[in-house]
Symmetry: C2
Subunit: 465 residues, 2 copies
Amino acid sequence: MKAPLRCLPAVLDRIDADLDQSLERLFAFLRIPSISTDPAYAAHCRAAAEHLAQDLASIGLAAEVRPTAGHPIVIGKGANGGGPSVLFYGHYDVQPVDPLELWDTPPFEPRIETIDGGRKVIRGRGACDDKGQLMTFVEACRAWKAVTGTLPLSITMMIEGEEECGSKNLFSFVRDNADELRRALALVCDTGMWDAQTPAVTTSLRGLLYEEVRIRCADRDLHSGLFGGAAANPIRVLAKIIADLHDAQGRVTLPGFYDGVRELPPDIKADLDALKLTPESFLGPVGLRAPAGEKDRSLIEQISTRPTCDANGIIGGYTGEGAKTVIPAEASAKISFRLVGDQDPKKIREAFHAFVRARLPSDASVSFENHALSPAIQLSYDSPILAKARAALTEEWGRKAVTIGSGGSIPIVGDFKRVLGMDSLLVGFGLDDDRVHAPNEKYDLASFHKGIRSWARILAALAAE
Amino acid sequence: MKAPLRCLPAVLDRIDADLDQSLERLFAFLRIPSISTDPAYAAHCRAAAEHLAQDLASIGLAAEVRPTAGHPIVIGKGANGGGPSVLFYGHYDVQPVDPLELWDTPPFEPRIETIDGGRKVIRGRGACDDKGQLMTFVEACRAWKAVTGTLPLSITMMIEGEEECGSKNLFSFVRDNADELRRALALVCDTGMWDAQTPAVTTSLRGLLYEEVRIRCADRDLHSGLFGGAAANPIRVLAKIIADLHDAQGRVTLPGFYDGVRELPPDIKADLDALKLTPESFLGPVGLRAPAGEKDRSLIEQISTRPTCDANGIIGGYTGEGAKTVIPAEASAKISFRLVGDQDPKKIREAFHAFVRARLPSDASVSFENHALSPAIQLSYDSPILAKARAALTEEWGRKAVTIGSGGSIPIVGDFKRVLGMDSLLVGFGLDDDRVHAPNEKYDLASFHKGIRSWARILAALAAE
């Protein structure tokens, strides 16, 4: 059935002609301050869910606002006769806007602005993350429906309202509705392009093991004048543990840590190398110059395809102004590992605990608290779906679409794989300068417009058996 | 002139006969809540100063309440014809009392209690630190005056009201009044006994170099998913520095750190060894077992006569509940060195800065803030004053008085030496279980009573040429 591909030119024309209306619909959505983490905005979150459900209904989806223990989840279903079924995931909630005084325009009064180089951008909270991104998919569906009277394939949409506060109720929702949500493939629009010209499919997400380590020595804080020299110091114990976690080459020293880490296929590595990511371009904007990871790995490998270990927080003893001569009773650190390939987070957790215990003096004890334990996600480089998506993106943007590994995690994607047995295709149009989670968030108008066209092409490619 | 020694028995009798009145005077002083660090108690601090000045006047001293930019300083002067002149230092201010709910009795309603083993104690804030201690000296003077009509030697008393909040105005007061305050010797009653049976002269106070170190890497906090692996992490930089500061033998690794550290004279070391301080007795009560300092040094050396390095505080990154995947822009630690002998705090500070800088990756910068920089204080083991004080204490307590090194600092004692060229004799009657700075502070009645008698004997010994 090649029908979808035959209709594509008309669908793309329709998208171009409808752009102003698409923007108006996005702006109406952006005006709803659906800040999920702040209970004061709960009614706005519900309003955003209802607004979205109405919009999905307007393009013929069977749409529902489904309750959870927190903010509701919007489900929209549109069936057609052919092609694979897909589950599209996005989120209608947004980050808080503070510090408000750093915004140049009110965060919930979206507008088009022209920035340096003449780029037109959509300014406002959620413009990119994730309202703008998810609406690229919705608008692509709308255009298909308008031109052909149907969707090019069977689509279920699941749009949650708690992504920015931990997706607390999404995981049980997915488990409880597994049969309803299990489709041939998940589509996610919450990632980025390589740069403003180069589209990308995110084929891997690093996993995350996040542990809090608390070292206790004496049963109370001690005066360092009286006890200094004789009392075990938990800050020193912790410092030694953190220092020992890396060797001089930047490799993580946990025994077995690199088990399951594979080398990249040569063609993928060549694609990555061809991107020529430089420390100047990647680290320079945040005030850094020198890649700090494994010395024998390129910068792009360090941030996307190699595992890491970092200390994310540490606290112990006196941290106020001035001096206090204390040897604290305890000190704690938050230590996380980004995982790739088949690294087993449980085994690494065990190895980490053993590593810490081996470095405890007799007067120190330790307790651990786990905050995250998810393996890496990897879409096979051989997947035909990946090939179709790359071809569609390459066609739209006029530049070869790359596959990239995201250094971060999208936990629900792990659940799609583990609970529903479903691969995810991650395509998004965010750019590094979108200022997501920060004041003055924006989304390039080109990301929005060509993003819609990109989804239209991807849907056509997926529908064409 | 042996007159003072001839009068001593009558003075001691007078002290015994007057004990109840001595306690009443102490209680009246303890009832004044002279908490210096809390501005709400400023009037009480002034009241305590005036109360004390009146009491000093009642024993014939020319007493004044001298203003400072903070709480006033009480000066009392009593001259006589013979003996060396001395400056007695103490403080009338006390620590805050919170958490109030942990006190078994109201902190400013002093009382006599009988505790385990039948020991009688004076309970209340300031009972030991320092009202009870300083009144041992005042009451000794009162008894001398009552029996002989004069003081046994020329005495100036300087009692400040800001010891518990940093003695902010004392140092300039001493400098501005150097001629008035410069005497042959300073006497200080703010230290402790070795144990309830064994009197002690504190002959050394460790010096203190206290540095705050701030490491900065990126110019903002980074997402560990996006930047993890490539971005320098200031917590890791700081952990490595702290870990490197000690070797496996527990020695501090700063180049030149041990310059100026001398071995103890054999007789003093023998005295210390004879005290048989055990980890069970010293570390056990705070939940520790193993001396954590230099492996080739005894516990008592570790805490009193050897230099140390400790991390007193550390903070960086996310320290709230749960997890945040951040690579922080900066991390800081408070690191202090306890110094002994002739260690030069300025040279050690320079060595520390060089040590830190040598461990900075190219993307890290450091800034330092100094919070303390004082050399150690050491009363010569050959001093005739020390011999007289030890003999007087041995006579009173029936057990050989020991010389001990205090692990902590009394900064004004350093200024007495540097600014006024004056040695200090530190004798006090505090015990390890006095709970100074904590709820339910107490002072043994025996410390108070025999403390007064001890000072009477020391004054006699100092007066007897």
